[in-house]
């Protein structure tokens, strides 16, 4: 983590702004501070490169699963035309990684979207209404949290079958409880505040209060959590691919590539090195940006 930058963010949060106000920093100011946050800027830079490469790569070098060059298998990195060498089918490793990017990243994105869509409203309802609703939702959350994410995802995929859609469902379900917990805690605090009470007194329907007043004001920690969860979702989704239970070959999803490379770690270690490095880079970038967002949006959370 960047020390000096986070110290700056902290002093800004502490002196220029009250904590309550700091949570409601406008988007442009937050973005500017984020770019000055050293580790967050590094993370954003890596993500920028990934997204650019993931968008341009497939356009410039389209992937054709049938195009195997069985003469050129296991070429070492640095050969002309094969910067990272070739794999056991003679496929260009760089091309595979560039084409796999969108699968791995969209797996993470879609899974976190499920976590948000299901977890945020449940958390807000649980915290706002309290009573039996709260108890039921909280016990349900406890149950989901009891299973390690990868075990829950493995069990769901074992039942649903492999494939992109089922991986998204499995990883999405395992990211729901974190959002429920987070939003519930914030809702408990927000529902006691004067503006929520005022909205209630004016006769606003609960759905409107939850959406416009509670969830809207709990967004900062949700954004932080969603960013950190992206990294975690990518780890779990690629883990399923690694075991051959995720996206199926010949789709060059990174976890799947790494799982296949496992058969050749003794003969050709580079095949396992590059896809793993790609996954690591993506997860690291999301974690760095998440840390930065937390410093910028919500100094209380540190």
């Amino acid at each position: 983590m960047s020390i000096r930058a986070s110290a700056t963010a902290e002093s800004l949060g502490a002196t220029a702004l009250e904590p309550e106000v700091a949570a409601a920093v406008g988007p442009s100011l937050a973005l500017r501070r984020l770019l000055h946050h050293r580790s967050a800027a590094a993370g954003l830079g890596v993500l920028g490169v990934y997204i650019l490469a993931g968008l341009l790569g497939p356009l410039l070098f389209p992937f054709n699963p049938a195009q195997n060059h069985l003469v050129d298998v296991f070429l070492p990195p640095g050969r002309p035309g094969h910067l990272l060498g070739t794999d056991n089918y003679g496929r260009d490793e760089l091309l595979l990684i560039l084409n796999g990017m969108r699968y791995t990243l969209s797996l993470g994105l879609l899974a976190v979207a499920i976590g948000l869509v299901v977890g945020v409203p449940l958390g807000a309802i649980s915290g706002y209404f309290g009573g039996w609703v709260d108890i039921v939702i909280q016990r349900f959350t406890d149950v989901l949290l009891a299973f390690p994410s990868i075990v829950l995802a493995l069990a769901l995929v074992a039942g649903l079958g492999p494939g992109l859609r089922n991986v998204v469902i499995a990883v999405g379900v395992s990211s729901v409880p974190a959002f429920i917990r987070l939003v519930r805690a914030d809702t408990l605090r927000l529902r006691e505040l004067a503006f929520v009470e005022a909205a209630r007194a004016l006769g606003a329907p609960p759905a409107r209060i939850l959406l416009r007043h509670v969830i809207a004001n709990a967004l900062a920690p949700v954004i932080v959590q969603a960013t950190l969860q992206m990294g975690f979702a990518i780890l779990v989704a690629a883990g399923l691919g690694f075991f051959g239970l995720g996206v199926q070959p010949p789709t060059p999803e990174w976890g799947e590539l790494l799982g296949e490379a496992r058969n050749y770690i003794f003969s050709d270690p580079k095949l396992a090195t590059f896809p793993g490095l790609a996954i690591f880079g993506a997860v690291l970038a999301f974690n760095l940006v998440g840390d930065g967002l937390r410093d910028v949006l919500d100094p209380r959370l540190r």
């Binding site: 983590m1 960047s2 020390i3 000096r4 110290a7 580790s39 016990r139 349900f140 406890d142 149950v143 989901l144 949290l145 009891a146 299973f147 390690p148 994410s149 990868i150 075990v151 493995l154 069990a155 769901l156 074992a158 039942g159 649903l160 079958g161 990294g231 780890l235 690629a238 883990g239 690694f242 075991f243 239970l245 976890g255 790494l258 490379a261 496992r262 770690i265 003794f266 270690p269 396992a272 090195t273 896809p275 793993g276 490095l277 996954i279 690591f280 997860v283 690291l284 974690n287 760095l288 840390d291 540190r302």
Partner: protein, 306 residues
């Protein structure tokens, strides 16, 4: 204290029941006919029907559910579809390996994580802090399955220093334990750092310093003791991610624990074992965290009276 213990137990019971229910629903959600899978490809329709009756799968769902809960109370998890041994025996013979691996990894993670976190907090904003904080983020971002492969490539294939697989040598545990520990090292170091920073800013630390206590005594006797509470919670929660990480680590290093059994059973379509293991993972997590909560209340009297 007794009321607190009772209350925590009463919360744990419905959660355990919920875990069992989720496992039951997942098992019934599986496509395909478990009876046919168990009977094998050569079985006749009659064989399949007989197995279905034996397993009670011809009963209506509510009856199956009650049967399931009843047999759980008798610790009867059924028989493996692959080896026909009782599931409890299958799990029991593998469990010691996982406990050994997870325990070594947890000790490594706690010792390194707390030392690193305390060092980073005490030398806040120094180069040391920057290095420790960066390594901690690396740790929590590292795919366990990739780290394992890289360690095998470097230490087993390259240097021939350590065994790459199995559990038959005393040094076999080194690589899997390191692989499994790294994520928790990163997380515990981060948690310790921020918890220590918070405590170091408190008035009583300034008082202790002003009284002329040595910095070692201030850091370890006064600050760390108070910073430990949130750290204990994180360590309790780590048991879950260690068990999850064990599934990945054990498979990569061919470590004969329950994690590898889970993956093998998924591929064998050995549903009774998968079901038993998922149940065990959930129950272990709940019981360990119940224990952590009780420990927490024992250490911090504010909790049991609130």
């Amino acid at each position: 204290m007794l009321t607190y213990v009772l209350r925590r137990f009463l919360v744990a019971i419905p959660t355990l029941w919920g875990v069992a229910t989720v496992v039951f629903i997942m098992a019934r959600l599986l496509p395909g006919d478990p009876a046919r899978v168990i009977a094998g490809v050569l079985a006749t329709q009659g064989d399949v029907d007989r197995i279905r009756r034996q397993m009670g799968l011809d009963q209506p769902l509510p009856v199956q559910y009650l049967d399931f809960l009843g047999s759980l109370l008798r610790l009867d998890l059924g028989r493996s579809a692959h080896t026909n041994a009782p599931v409890l025996e299958e799990i029991g013979s593998r469990l010691p390996y996982t406990i050994e691996l997870a325990f070594v990894a947890l000790v490594v993670a706690v010792v390194i994580g707390i030392l690193a976190g305390v060092t980073a907090a005490v030398r806040r904003n120094s180069k040391t802090d920057l290095i420790i904080s960066s390594l901690s983020v690396f740790g929590i971002s590292m795919p366990v399955y990739w780290l394992g492969l890289m360690l095998i490539i470097v230490f087993a294939v390259g240097l021939h220093a350590l065994p790459a697989a199995g559990a038959d040598q005393p040094t076999s545990i080194v690589l899997p334990a390191l692989t499994l520990a790294l994520f928790s090292v990163g997380l515990i170091a981060r948690m310790t750092r921020s918890s220590m920073l918070e405590v170091l800013g408190q008035d009583y630390i300034r008082t202790a310093r002003a009284m002329g206590l040595g910095s070692g005594s201030v850091i370890f006797r006064h600050a760390l003791r108070n910073a430990l509470l949130p750290i204990i919670t994180v360590i309790g929660l780590q048991v879950g991610s260690l068990l999850g990480g064990a599934v990945l680590t054990e498979t990569i290093f061919a470590w004969p624990g329950v994690g590898r059994l889970l993956i093998d059973s998924i591929f064998f379509r050995d549903y009774p074992v998968v079901q038993g293991l998922v149940l065990m993972f959930g129950a272990t997590f709940i019981l360990v965290n119940l224990l952590v909560d009780l420990l927490y209340a024992y250490v911090d009297p504010r909790i049991r009276y609130s």
